[in-house]
């Protein structure tokens, strides 16, 4: 009750502070002193504290199961374990927007204390642009999605948290993803401020690179956690479904990756300034656009119903106001520095980064079109379609071949002008890759030529980056680690999709199912009771061709609030492969439907994303040369 009030009024105070902060900083903009007025820092800190208080009080309401709060009533239940009561705070629309607001405030405050060497006007303008976003979100939360709505009479019990959201990976996935996703706001504000001050320079590049890296690392790990959740919890045996909600987190990642590469050029040569600014704007716009698509309920998903069109309209208008503002500033203030533009030599590091950018833009357009095309078609012709994985695979996979090839060569080139060194060793590596690939996959797939070329390109990148890592000649470890991680990612995904196998059958207790010298034996079932669900656990023994036995125990859970039946897959992970078993009830008899999958190199997909992020982390903490 009390927490509710505190939370609500902190938000209102926070909004008022925003207005005050804008006033104070505009005044400070014209003052003659060299440093920012201490009051600005203090107010920004106070605003952050208020939002934290508001967020904590929502968490407190969840912990206490205070059902006089509408958000708690809709998303929690007294029998939920404490951990999921807490994670329920951001597992819903209102709470997650509060988290947005928190991250927005956190980043601008950190920016203010970490940018003391930067010009004063630039810092203040960054603060102002960020405050525009913050005010927008304050209004959005308070007007359309207040997390502190009061319910009377107070219900005695809540409606419960959707059980598929009760998973450890998903509990920490939103905060991590948001740090990346919303973190891009600071890049947006800073680049707009830099454009108005004509400050897009080498120094600015060095300074903003840290922020780009931080967002990029969190975004990468956040996407990975979401994918891990989909793999373990949804029980479809895949890790990426090209679902619109997944796509909207991938799109900013693509532009952010392109931006990261552009900035490495900017900090050395002060070129590609238009690219940097446009990518900074696009990245945040895509984050906002993603929020719009997911939160407004405009996307066709049969099981989520938008309950408030006002929300969609608010974000839509706000999104286009931000786009208009940033485009206006870009066209008014930005001057492309033509001085350096003409000395782009065709064989140089810069050119290879430009090529990388165009590839990223291509991948982005594929994902963007696949995601929003159904909406456009629906509005124009009232036809309902959904775009599935084949669309993305057909358009993206073939282009991976040249992309991987350029990625192997690009980092070996020098800045400004270069020639390819060690041609012989490259050619040898390439031949080894082709031969290795051919021997591995010649019996595995029907489309031999295509896969040989594709996998060879991936192996080529793998070996060249591995060599760089071992020799350490280029003295750019972070890049080598990240690129090595990427090659590993592509290789694991490719082998995973080529080598996966699946058995689907109906089976009852005591029965054996044999195939290819392997055997699935359904030993017994047992029942178990937990506070928030009852479960049936089945024991299976799986004997492979070498006679080795693995035991797998998939579960069927019946959650009590709300009543939902979920299938929990049991997964045995080893370095080489995952064994994945999931079962479902068959109506009306004692048979269970089981799906048994062997998925090679699954764990390497997660490891390679971690390597990729480690590369970013190393770059973040690298000592300045």
């Amino acid at each position: 009750m009390l927490a509710n009030q505190i939370g609500y009024y902190s938000l209102i105070l926070g909004l008022l502070l925003s207005v005050l902060l804008c006033g104070v900083s505009i005044k400070d903009l014209n003052s003659s002193s060299k440093q920012i007025n201490q009051n600005v820092l203090f107010l920004s800190f106070l605003q952050l504290v208020l939002v934290i208080v508001s967020f904590l009080s929502l968490i407190l309401s969840f912990i206490n199961s205070d059902f006089s709060n509408e958000t708690v009533f809709n998303n929690s239940h007294t029998t939920k374990p404490l951990f999921y009561k807490i994670s329920g705070t951001w597992g819903n629309h209102e709470g997650s927007l509060l988290l947005w607001l928190l991250v927005l405030n956190l980043f601008i405050f950190l920016f203010l204390i970490k940018s003391r060497e930067q010009p004063k006007k630039y810092r203040i303008l960054t603060l102002l642009f960020q405050q525009i976003i913050i005010i927008g979100f304050f209004l959005f939360v308070l007007i359309t999605s207040n997390p502190f709505n009061y319910l009377f009479p107070v219900p005695s019990e809540g409606l419960g948290l959707n059980p598929i959201l009760q998973d450890p990976a998903l509990a920490i996935h939103p905060p991590i993803l948001y740090l990346g996703y919303v973190g891009t706001s600071i890049i947006f504000s800073a680049s707009l401020a830099a454009v108005t001050q004509d400050y897009i320079s080498k120094e600015w590049g060095k300074h903003i690179k840290k922020w780009v890296l931080v967002s990029w690392i969190f975004l990468s790990i956040g996407i990975m956690l979401g994918s891990i959740w989909a793999y373990y919890e949804l029980g479809w045996g895949g890790f990426w479904f090209w679902d619109p909600v997944e796509n909207v987190s991938l799109m900013p990642w693509l532009t952010l990756t392109a931006l990261l590469h552009c900035i490495t050029v900017l900090e050395r040569r002060a070129v590609l300034t238009s690219w940097v600014v446009i990518l900074s704007i696009t990245t945040f716009t895509l984050s906002m656009c993603g929020t719009f698509l997911v939160r407004s309920g405009i996307l066709n998903s049969v099981h989520t119903f938008a309950n408030d069109p006002a929300r969609g309209i608010f974000i839509l208008i706000f999104l286009f106001v931000l786009i208009a503002l940033s485009l206006g500033i870009f066209f008014l203030f930005h001057k492309e520095n033509n001085k350096n533009l003409n000395n782009f030599f065709w064989l140089s590091r810069e050119t290879s980064i430009l090529i990388n950018n165009w590839f990223m833009m291509y991948f982005l357009s594929v994902v963007l079109i696949g995601t929003v095309y159904p909406i456009f078609l629906d509005v124009i012709s009232s036809e309902k379609i959904s775009v599935g994985p084949p669309f993305y695979q057909k358009l993206i996979v073939p282009f991976l071949i040249p992309f991987l090839f350029f990625m192997s060569l690009g980092p070996r080139l020098k800045w400004i002008k270069s020639k390819i060194e060690n041609k012989n060793s490259l050619i040898i590596t390439f031949i080894i890759s082709i031969m290795l690939t051919f021997f591995i996959i010649k019996n595995l797939t029907t489309d031999l030529l295509f896969y040989t070329v594709l996998v060879s390109a991936a192996f080529f990148l793998f070996f060249t980056t591995l060599k760089e890592l071992l020799v350490g000649k280029f003295n750019n470890d972070s890049q080598a680690v990240a690129h090595f991680g990427f090659s590993l990612l592509v290789l694991s995904i490719l082998f995973n999709s080529i080598l996966s196998s699946e058995i689907i059958t109906n089976i009852k207790v005591g029965e054996k199912y044999s195939y290819n010298k392997s055997e699935i034996f359904f030993k017994k079932i047992e029942e178990k009771k937990e506070s928030n669900f009852n479960s049936i656990i089945a024991h299976f023994e799986i004997k492979n061709e070498n006679g080795k036995i693995v035991e797998l125990k998939p579960e069927i859970r019946v959650y009590n609030q709300p009543i939902i039946i979920t299938s929990e897959a049991d997964i045995k992970t080893t370095l080489l492969e995952d064994k994945f078993l999931v079962m479902n009830l068959v109506k009306g008899n004692e048979y269970f439907n089981i799906r048994y999958q062997v998925k090679p190199f699954m764990i390497w997909i997660w490891i390679s994303v971690l390597l990729l992020s480690l590369g970013g982390l190393m770059s973040l903490f690298k000592k300045k040369i």
Binding site: N74, L159, G160, F292, S296, G297, I298, N300, S301, V302, H303, T304, F305, A306, N307, P309, G312, I313, L316, F320, I323, A324, L327, F331, I375, F376, D378, V379, I380, K384, Q561, P562, I563, I564, K587
Partner: protein, 173 residues
């Protein structure tokens, strides 16, 4: 000059996107899939909500009038929102509403009905969701309109709104 032209193109493109998205919001997710062949209602047996007796589909749809089959559950938030419209519809004499209580706890369901009123002439229990599947349901809530020949002539995915209510009233006139 070149810049101005670019700006112009971008503005036109963005306005186009804006209007599409804006209209898209209106469209919402409540949609009525086109039904090509009018399907007969499935033949089934189901437990009655109040008496716990088993009833056959023939008995349930025996009268020569229009029927609505509405899939609902007490845990379903959109169901709460559409409920007053169902109450309004139930006042109409030329139609009867059959409720399909989907994967629900009987106690909660009774509370829901006591709290918001009962628009249904009969409520059937669909504990495991199979009855919903027989009708071809996508999710909860969902509403099926059945004509006098016992054929499903319309279905509405998601909570019904005033427009759908008007449409139904027009058909059953």
């Amino acid at each position: 000059m070149k810049n101005k032209f670019r700006l112009f193109v971008i503005i036109v493109f963005l306005s186009f996107c804006f209007s599409i998205f804006y209209k898209g919001l209106d469209n919402s997710n409540i949609y009525a899939p086109k039904i090509k062949d009018k399907k007969n209602i499935p033949i089934f047996e189901a437990k009655d909500f109040n008496s716990s007796a088993y009833l056959s589909s023939e008995k349930i749809f025996k009268e020569d009038i229009f029927y609505i089959v509405n899939i609902w559950a007490s845990w379903c938030v959109p169901c709460r929102k559409e409920h007053h419209l169902l109450m309004e519809l139930s006042k109409n004499q030329s139609i009867k509403l059959i409720g399909l209580n989907y994967k629900d706890n009987i106690k909660n369901a009774k509370k829901f009905i006591n709290e918001l009123g009962n628009p249904y002439s009969q409520i059937l229990i669909d504990n495991d969701g199979t009855l919903g599947i027989e009708f071809g349901a996508y999710g909860v809530p969902e509403t099926f309109l059945i004509d006098k020949n016992k054929k499903i002539i319309n279905k509405f995915v998601g909570p019904i709104n005033h427009d759908i209510l008007k449409k139904i009233k027009l058909i059953i006139k």
